[in-house]
């Protein structure tokens, strides 16, 4: 039975099948994610055993066409999937975001028919895992400056360079790698096991511990002609992928907010200090009301954003606004929830500290809070604040 937070009857804006999709993912998270996630988080391990199941549920590339084995959902249903996954854990949502928005989407959008036929069904079922390599050690917020380089050789390309912070890198069967060919950014499919390619895992994370983060290293890696994404040309194409993923993040973090709010509300009603439950004191109520209000606002943004996306009217700046806002308030809510739980808030018996730590990454990746501020600043003033 689905339990959410719906203070403003947004459910009345959802269709029957959108609600069923949400309930399906909710049930999956309750039954298969929550019981194991703390232990994986503690061990710093991605729950690999969930991949097959997520494939069977059709969670990967869920908005892509049925002919590739995908569920062909609309954007709102896609967003609801992300929301429910991240109620479980941002790392699980990240896995699905990367697979769907950053690997399947670029193959679908910029790939050849052959590439689509070959890879999309495998990625949809989870038989193949993908990653997306844009960020480099020296180019994070400024990916246009990236230095990974592809050179034309007979029958293909020679790739040299390194990527960093790549979700799923070590476990990926294919990497979508963005590199400069004659000074212009293009996307390439790099297959696991090719000579000169390695993907060591990055260790020591305090955040997204149930997600794999890796470096990608390319030393004279040969990429056949057939693995260039033929329609990818320019940084814009990479940013189009990020826009898909940011859309999912705005929904996803709303799930983390709901999880933290519910933990805080439950705790505030059961924990007694002085004469009554701490939920009966004004300062606690103020925190709970802040959470409720921000979640409700995020839900309003998300649903309208989804409807605009389906109507083909969503601007990338609008996605920036939602990503920026929702990540910020999600982190505030997680921290506040941690406060309401007092000392218990730091224990992994409760999900809030894990969410709070995860959300630090989520606020940073797919464009930092500051980058989205600058995107929006440019949009409303017409004056770009980036330097060239």
């Amino acid at each position: 039975m689905y339990k959410g937070l719906d203070y403003y009857s947004f459910d009345s804006l959802l269709s029957e099948d959108e609600k069923l999709v949400r309930e399906l993912v909710y049930d999956f998270v309750q039954a298969d994610v929550l019981p194991i996630i703390e232990e994986h988080n503690r061990q710093g391990r991605f729950p690999f055993e969930l991949v097959q199941k997520m494939g069977e549920l059709n969670l990967f590339g869920a908005n892509l066409p049925a002919r590739y084995g995908c569920a062909e959902l609309n954007s709102v249903a896609y967003g609801l999937i992300m929301q429910e996954l991240e109620r479980g854990d941002s790392g699980i949502r990240s896995f699905v975001s990367v697979q769907s928005g950053l690997v399947m989407y670029p193959i679908f959008t910029f790939g050849s028919d052959e590439q689509k036929e070959k890879w999309l069904p495998l990625l949809a079922s989870g038989e193949a895992i993908g990653c997306f390599g844009l960020t480099e050690p020296d180019f994070g917020s400024n990916p246009g400056g990236l230095v990974t380089k592809a050179e034309k050789v007979t029958g293909g390309y020679k790739l040299n360079g390194a990527k960093m912070w790549i979700t799923n890198g070590t476990i990926a069967d294919i990497a979508i790698v963005w590199a400069k060919l004659d000074g212009v950014i293009h996307g390439f499919i790099v297959e696991k096991g090719v000579k000169g390619y390695s993907a060591p895992e990055m260790k020591g994370k305090h955040s997204l511990r149930a997600s794999v983060t890796s470096e990608l290293v390319f030393e004279d890696v040969f990429i056949p002609d057939s693995n260039l994404l033929p329609n990818s040309r320019g940084l814009k194409c990479a940013l189009m992928c990020l826009n898909q993923a940011r859309y999912g993040i705005a929904w996803g973090v709303t799930g983390a907010m709901i999880a933290c709010y519910q933990a805080a509300l439950d705790y505030s009603l059961s924990r007694k200090q002085f004469s009554k439950p701490i939920g009966g004191y004004q300062i606690t109520q103020q925190k709970l009301v802040y959470m409720l209000t921000e979640i409700t606002k995020a839900q309003a943004l998300n649903i309208q954003m989804g409807r605009l996306k389906d109507a083909g009217q969503l601007r990338f700046q609008q996605v920036s606004l939602a990503k920026r806002n929702n990540c910020e308030v999600a982190l505030n809510i997680a921290r506040m929830s941690r406060e309401v739980l007092g000392a218990n808030g730091i224990l992994d018996e409760y999900p809030v500290m894990r969410h709070a730590a995860n959300l630090e990454s989520v606020k940073t990746y797919e464009g930092t809070h500051e980058m989205h501020t600058l995107i929006l600043g440019e949009d409303i003033t017409g004056l770009p604040a980036f330097d060239n």
Partner: protein, 248 residues
């Protein structure tokens, strides 16, 4: 073989239920509605049999338009066709069963699944009534089932063991927890279900045999009284049973 699964759309019993102001029913405002949990086992069993022997699984639900949500959930799990029977006036368990039986006959289903009980009214009789109305054999509260041609072997949990029942089709089976592990729907299943049209039919209406006079909440529990915690308290307890509670 055509298989019928009867599913009910019920209030989530995890939530608190309130009696309506006029005492004619429960206050449904704000209640969350779900597929009756026992009916999930019924659907799963029907799907398993269909996967083995082929056939068509029909999902039937008697109730208002909201029941379509529950029908869609069953379709998302893999059932083939959904039929909603629009209620006439009064609907006691017998009228629900009559309406279902009329459809089952029309669809020529020789195997019928229901849940062992519906968690709204908890009567636990629709399945048995159906069998009687249809003239089918019936195994209630089944925890295991084997169908081979027209032979049916089912197990029921009884005190201290299991009862094995052998019968033949046509039959009605009422499903108990443990019969199987209900599957998840898949997103593709949900999307395929979305494209299906739920057929809507009128119920045959007859006078109900059960008429509900009114609904009352149970009286609030009064605080218990602890007379003592060891053998010393026994005489006082006996006295209380006789004099205060007047039980014997």
């Amino acid at each position: 073989m055509n298989i019928a699964v009867c599913v009910n759309h019920v209030p989530d019993t995890a939530a608190k239920v309130k009696v309506s102001e006029d005492h004619s029913g429960i206050d449904t405002a704000g209640a969350a509605w779900i597929l009756n949990p026992y009916d999930e086992f019924a659907i799963e069993e029907a799907l398993k049999i269909k996967e083995k022997t082929g056939g068509t699984v029909y999902v039937l639900s008697f109730g208002p338009a909201e029941n379509n949500e529950t029908i869609r959930k069953a379709l998302g799990m893999g059932a083939d066709e959904g039929i909603r029977i629009k209620p006439g006036t009064a609907a006691d368990s017998l009228n629900v069963a009559r309406a279902l039986a009329a459809q089952i006959t029309a669809l020529d289903c020789k195997l019928v699944f229901t849940g062992k009980q519906s968690v709204d009214y908890d009567n636990g009789i629709v399945g048995q009534l159906l069998a009687e109305l249809l003239g089918y054999n019936c195994v209630s509260v089944a925890v295991a089932l084997q169908i081979d041609g027209t032979s049916v072997v089912a197990e029921r949990e009884i005190e201290g063991g299991r009862e094995v029942i052998q019968t033949t089709l046509p039959a009605v089976i009422t499903a108990q927890k443990g019969l199987n592990e209900p599957r998840y729907a898949s997103l593709k299943g949900i999307m395929a279900a979305k494209k299906k049209v739920i057929q809507e039919v009128e119920a045959v209406t007859m006078d109900p045999v059960v008429v509900t006079q009114s609904f009352e909440s149970p009286a609030p529990k009064t605080a218990g009284k602890i007379l003592g915690t060891d053998v010393q308290a026994v005489p006082e307890l006996i006295k209380a049973i006789h004099e205060e509670m007047k039980l014997v």
